[in-house]
């Protein structure tokens, strides 16, 4: 595969006797939008948590940019360039939108005593530089109008967008999105699709979506990985997945995927 960025290698995660994730492998190329789908209980969230370092795998590896990142901790995974968003909204509610984004930048600029000793990267950006970067990120997600508004008072859809902005503030090369469309109305969903495509095309971001919303995945993703009961049952382009009998069966043969 050309320019492989992320490789999930024979990943398993057991909870007691239950194999929430069983020997799942796939890889993501640089600049790709890939979707991870499956019915409820398929192991999508487990896969998401293991890849982002929130929980360690029982066996298998997550290789990101040539490095084994399995087992986290998440903060370390993020610093290496793999960021995540949350399924429900996750912000610092009392802080303004700009301050939320600033906090997303902190891991790159914060000169904590210990970090300064062990990390040689350039830190402690000047205030104007911070301000410019905040503007840049708010422009990317079109939240500039809400810059000085407290995050907690934003509408749900905007809070989810802010979640993406905060993740972008870490300057990731790949962004893992945990059900970005959950709770959004039709219009917001279209806007989200536009935003994600922009991030890929204009900012060269690689995206991995874990998603329930079939229409969004089919429209947006170049490749789709289907999980059922912890196992990968199919992988391919949206057209291939749509025709795949195993996938159709897993989704009870529903002809209308929009609300599977």
């Amino acid at each position: 595969m050309k320019n492989e960025l992320l490789r999930v290698e024979a990943l398993s995660r057991h909870f007691g006797g239950l194999a929430a994730l069983n020997d799942v492998s796939f890889s993501v190329a640089t600049g790709e939008i890939i979707g991870l789908i499956g019915p409820n209980g398929a192991g999508k969230t487990t896969a998401f948590n293991v890849i982002s370092g929130t929980m360690p795998p029982t066996s298998g590896k997550v290789i990101f940019a040539g490095k084994d990142i399995s087992g986290g901790p998440p903060s370390k995974v993020v610093v290496s360039g793999l960021a995540r968003t949350f399924q429900s909204t996750s912000t610092y509610p009392q802080m303004t939108v700009a301050q939320n984004v600033y906090r997303g930048m902190l891991s790159r600029i914060e000169g904590g005593a210990v970090a300064r000793l062990v990390d040689r990267r350039e830190r402690l950006l000047a205030s104007t530089q911070v301000s410019n970067e905040i503007d840049e990120i708010l422009d990317m997600v079109d939240l500039q109008a809400w810059r000085e508004v407290a995050a907690g008072s934003l509408a749900y859809g905007l809070q989810k967008k802010l979640g993406i902005a905060v993740a972008l503030a870490t300057r990731p090369t790949i962004l893992l999105l945990d059900e970005p469309a959950a709770g959004l109305n039709h219009e917001e969903c279209n806007e989200l699709a536009k935003l994600l495509r922009q991030l890929q095309q204009q900012h060269g971001l690689t995206l991995l979506l874990v998603e329930h919303h079939m229409a969004l995945v089919m429209e947006l993703c170049e490749r789709i990985v289907v999980l059922v009961q912890g196992e990968k049952i199919a992988e391919g382009t949206p057209a291939e997945i749509r025709e795949n009998p195993a996938v159709i069966e897993a989704y009870l043969g529903a002809p209308d995927y929009a609300h599977a």
């Binding site: 949350f86 912000t91 509610p93 891991s107 914060e110």
Partner: protein
């Protein structure tokens, strides 16, 4: 488009007025006799120690072992001075360094615990420290403690009177407040607040919650050790009971009543609660009931503590 700026350190007019009043208040004890001077010294030391506690609390953990770190600082400093005759600056540095080391090791292990579990372990640590000091009587003097501790003297200038020591304690207290203001307007201070407000989000943006809590715990415990050292040199006597878990609880009470999320909380708490037990010596037992009631009322109706009442102190922090 407004420019993003770090929290502002300039003070508004109301804040300056209040600071001026505090400045006058801090000078008054020199003219009020020994007892008031004594209270002022204890208040200053409590401001220092509660500031330490507040750094830990702002990172999301409540330490019930704060007095234990004061004990480490005090005992190490005093013992090395008594046993080896080392210079007080050296033994103080050693006491602080050892307390920091202890905090690092303990923090590394127990800061993964959350909420009440962390509280329980730090409480146990405080009690263990007291018992260890009691038991190790060959070295520590056990329950009798160590008396006749020489006062601090730097370059032949001895802080051996109340009025001299108050000058030292006051400067230290002021410096600790300056440190707090600088800390919580720095990137690292913002990271501490981020961890408190949404640990999962902070972690997912590359801020290691564990690392930040360890640094906060070490920093806060270091201030406790410093306070313990000063207290030992001021009172001239230490025993395991000088640093029992009850002291930790008293410091927590000051923090909660003063305000946990404000730089001014520890100041307010120490200022109000240090003199009270000394003034109401006659009501030793009833006053604890009173503190308990006040604590519950504050937590229920004023979670931001007294420092949040006016917002005069908070100025631009609150938007």
């Amino acid at each position: 488009m407004t420019q993003f700026s770090m929290p502002d350190l300039t003070l508004g007019r109301k804040q300056l007025t209040l600071l001026g009043l505090l400045g006058v208040l801090s000078i008054v004890p020199w003219f009020m006799g020994a007892f008031v001077l004594h209270l002022a010294i204890l208040t200053s030391l409590n401001i220092l120690m509660v500031n330490g506690l507040s750094i830990i609390a702002r990172a999301g953990q409540l330490s019930f072992g704060h007095a234990a770190f004061a004990a480490i600082g005090a005992y190490v400093s005093v013992l090395f001075s008594v046993e080896f005759g080392w210079n007080i600056l050296l033994t103080s540095a050693l006491g602080i360094a050892l307390a920091a080391g202890f905090a690092f090791l303990l923090g590394w292990v127990i800061l993964r615990l959350k909420g009440v579990y962390f509280v329980l372990v730090t409480f146990s640590f405080g009690e263990l420290m007291r018992l260890a000091l009691l038991d190790w009587s060959d070295l520590t003097g056990g329950a009798n403690g160590i008396a006749n501790i020489a006062p601090i003297s730097i370059f032949d200038f001895a802080f051996d009177s109340r009025s001299r020591f108050y000058a030292l304690a006051l400067i230290v207290a002021i410096l600790s407040i300056v440190l707090m203001r600088r800390l919580f307007s720095s990137h690292f201070g913002q990271a501490i607040d981020a961890v408190y407000e949404n640990a999962a989000l902070a972690e997912s943006t590359g801020l290691s919650v564990h690392r930040i809590q360890i640094v906060a715990f070490v920093l806060g415990s270091t201030l406790a050790a410093f306070g313990g050292i000063l207290q030992a040199r001021y009172i001239g006597y230490i025993s395991p009971e000088s640093f029992n878990p009850g002291i930790s609880v008293a410091l927590i009470t000051m923090l909660v009543i003063g305000g946990q999320r404000s730089v001014w909380g520890p100041l307010v708490g120490a200022l109000i609660l240090t003199p009270l037990p000394e003034l109401f010596r006659g009501a030793v037992h009833t006053q604890n009931i009173f503190y308990g009631a006040v604590l519950i009322l504050i937590l229920r109706f004023l979670p931001g503590g007294l420092a949040s009442v006016t917002n005069l102190f908070k100025g631009k922090e609150k938007q």
